[in-house]
């Protein structure tokens, strides 16, 4: 009788763990899988797949397996809404990581609030996202990466050391326009004269008319707000025209993706300095695993998605299960507000009242086909004051 009672108590004690082990946690990744920005989504699929496999190989989180689902936002606000609906209504995910592109992030924010699903942003840098999140009204949105207002204030000071005037060339979307507005203010504060601001639609074939305009305004420096695939064409034509301005960048210019595009002549990118928050050298082990798995250089956005899962979502899932025994959407959101990760490759991850994490900002210099972190700068809300 006593033995039977002991067996019954043991079984009852093991029940929650058994029940947890039986229901996997569903994580959705949203990014641009098709369209001109599809390179980002491909990276997110690769990064998301790798990190989820890594966790599952270790037994999942608190004994629960992770299932990854991917949805295509085509880098547009409208498609981002469809991507969220698909992840929530069809795939029944518990948490979303994405949407990579600022326009898509801004488009997805109202729908994640309506559907009450936590969304952790990995690399959208429009400053509006911070204003609208947490105490800004949307308690379901969190952001790991720092935004362009945070970066612009630091980067403009650094640029002011070698340039008295600058022209800005930015993507004609929420990312580019958000950055342009932030740098407009930051340049004034830093004493850099903004000679001109030009916008372009992605995938342009010919930037030379734009460069002829730069030639006329003759600034000391040019700030590019663009991604690698556009930047490689831009820089080839910049060198073709014989322009000599110092190039600063935001987006994914000083990256292995860019170097892969210009491998016939890597010196095209010599001297470019980019403000960023991630580069491969911050996590050599991840870079090695990526190369082994995908046989292609590590991608920025895929790595940020994986890093967001590993250092923000996974700790929140663990905390939610420990505290409430559940990993439902509300428990995950509450846990995200409480996580305090001090040792991620990009710096500490702890969300403030606007659900913004204040990770490090880095300056990367490209020279001779090599990328070098020349400065690592901690960030804090004080930067904006």
């Amino acid at each position: 009788m006593r033995i039977a009672l002991l067996v019954l108590i043991t079984l009852l004690a093991a029940l929650p763990a058994w029940a947890q082990g039986g229901s996997p946690i569903r994580v959705g990744f949203a990014s641009a899988i098709s369209g001109p920005s599809a390179i980002t989504g491909e990276g997110v699929i690769w990064g998301g797949t790798m990190i989820v496999e890594e966790f599952n190989a270790r037994g999942g989180i608190m004994g629960r397996k992770i299932e990854a689902y991917f949805a295509d936002n085509k880098a547009t606000p409208g498609e981002a809404v469809s991507a969220v609906r698909r992840l929530v209504d069809v795939d029944k995910v518990d948490v979303i990581i994405g949407q990579t592109h600022s326009g898509a992030c801004l488009g997805a924010m109202p729908i994640v609030k309506e559907l009450q699903v936590p969304m952790v942003i990995e690399s959208c840098s429009n400053p509006k996202i911070r204003e609208l999140s947490g105490k800004g009204g949307n308690e379901w949105t969190f952001r790991v990466n720092i935004d362009d207002e945070i970066m612009a204030n630091t980067f403009a000071k650094s640029m002011a050391r070698s340039a008295k005037s600058a022209s800005m060339i930015a993507q004609n979307d929420d990312f580019g326009r958000g950055a342009a507005a932030a740098y407009d203010v930051a340049f004034k504060r830093a004493g850099v004269k903004l000679a001109s601001t030009e916008f372009f639609d992605r995938g342009q074939a010919d930037y030379r008319p734009l460069m002829t305009r730069i030639k006329r305004t003759a600034p000391d420096a040019v700030l590019l707000v663009m991604l690698a695939s556009d930047a490689s064409v831009f820089m080839r034509q910049f060198r073709e025209l014989g322009l000599t301005q110092k190039i600063y960048a935001r987006g994914s210019v000083a990256t292995v993706e860019f170097l892969n595009q210009v491998k016939d002549n890597p010196s095209i990118g010599d001297g470019i300095i980019e403000a960023s928050f991630w580069t491969a050298s911050l996590d050599p082990d991840w870079e090695r695993k990526w190369l082994e798995r995908w046989k292609t250089p590590v991608r920025v956005h895929g790595s940020m998605a994986a890093l967001t899962f590993k250092y923000a979502v996974a700790p929140a899932l663990e905390l939610a299960i420990k505290k409430t025994g559940r990993a439902d959407r509300t428990a995950i959101r509450d846990a995200l507000e409480q996580i305090d990760v001090k040792d991620s490759p990009v710096g500490p991850i702890k969300f403030d009242e606007n659900h913004q994490a204040w990770i490090n900002m880095i300056l990367i210099e490209m020279r001779g086909g090599q990328l070098k972190v020349i400065e690592k700068l901690p960030t804090s809300p004080a930067i904006l004051r």
Binding site: S229, S232, G242
Partner: protein, 289 residues
Amino acid sequence: MEDLLEQTIHGLTLGSMYAMVATGLALMFGVVRLVNFAHGEFFMLGAYTFWFAFQELDLPYPVAGLVAAAAMAAFGGVYQRTIIRAILERSWHVQLIATLATSIVLTNLAVIVFGTQAKEVPTRLSATVFQAGGLRIAWQRLLVLGASVVIFAALHWFVKRTKIGKAMRAMSQNREACAVVGVDVQRVALVTFALGGLLAGGAAALVTPLFNIFPDMGALLTLKAFAAVIVGGFGYVHGAIAASFIIGVSESLAAGYISYAYKDAIAFVIMIAVLLWRPQGLFGRRIGI
């Protein structure tokens, strides 16, 4: 002044690209009365074929260019024999959906086969610069301009002087009458699509050393070429060529002196203006009822 000259040369380079694509589109419409919305994808496939031949097979530039043009001519022929032949007698709705669907399928196939990362095919000519005073132009741009003159002269000769060219012109005037007098309309249509493919492949080989190759590259190009065909007068090859250069140069001057962000709108502003002023296009003839 150097500024203006530089912008004009950029515009003529762009115009050459639009013209080679628009010419194919105009020929196809003229001969079989069908708008091929997948025509930009002919250019995209030509670009990938050129990349494969030049970078992966390491063929010399002229050979790789000829391979791309020949492959796209063959593709144009196969496209006509399969998809176009099946929809030629159907309503314009079916034709629209079928060619649009082909465009989507080809774009997504390119994503699967070649990946999403843009590819670049720099050549010796695209990396070296012709300099005269303050003017700096990559030799590849000059090659594009020179080659387009030769290509359009050859096309003019082909359409005016050869038997099949004359049949194409005849079919553009009255397809039924051609069939009645024994013209092999299917064969003429086949040659037209092969010629459209040849021009798109040739254009791709000429201009891709200056630009990026990516799966979606054909979408905007189709629309610009379409605008050129409308501005030139639907089905008028010479009109399409002239309109392409007008659009290319206007776009370049607008980008250089007005706004780069809105340069893509220029083609469509010109198209709307021409439609309001001359609905039959700049070089088309008014049809009375």
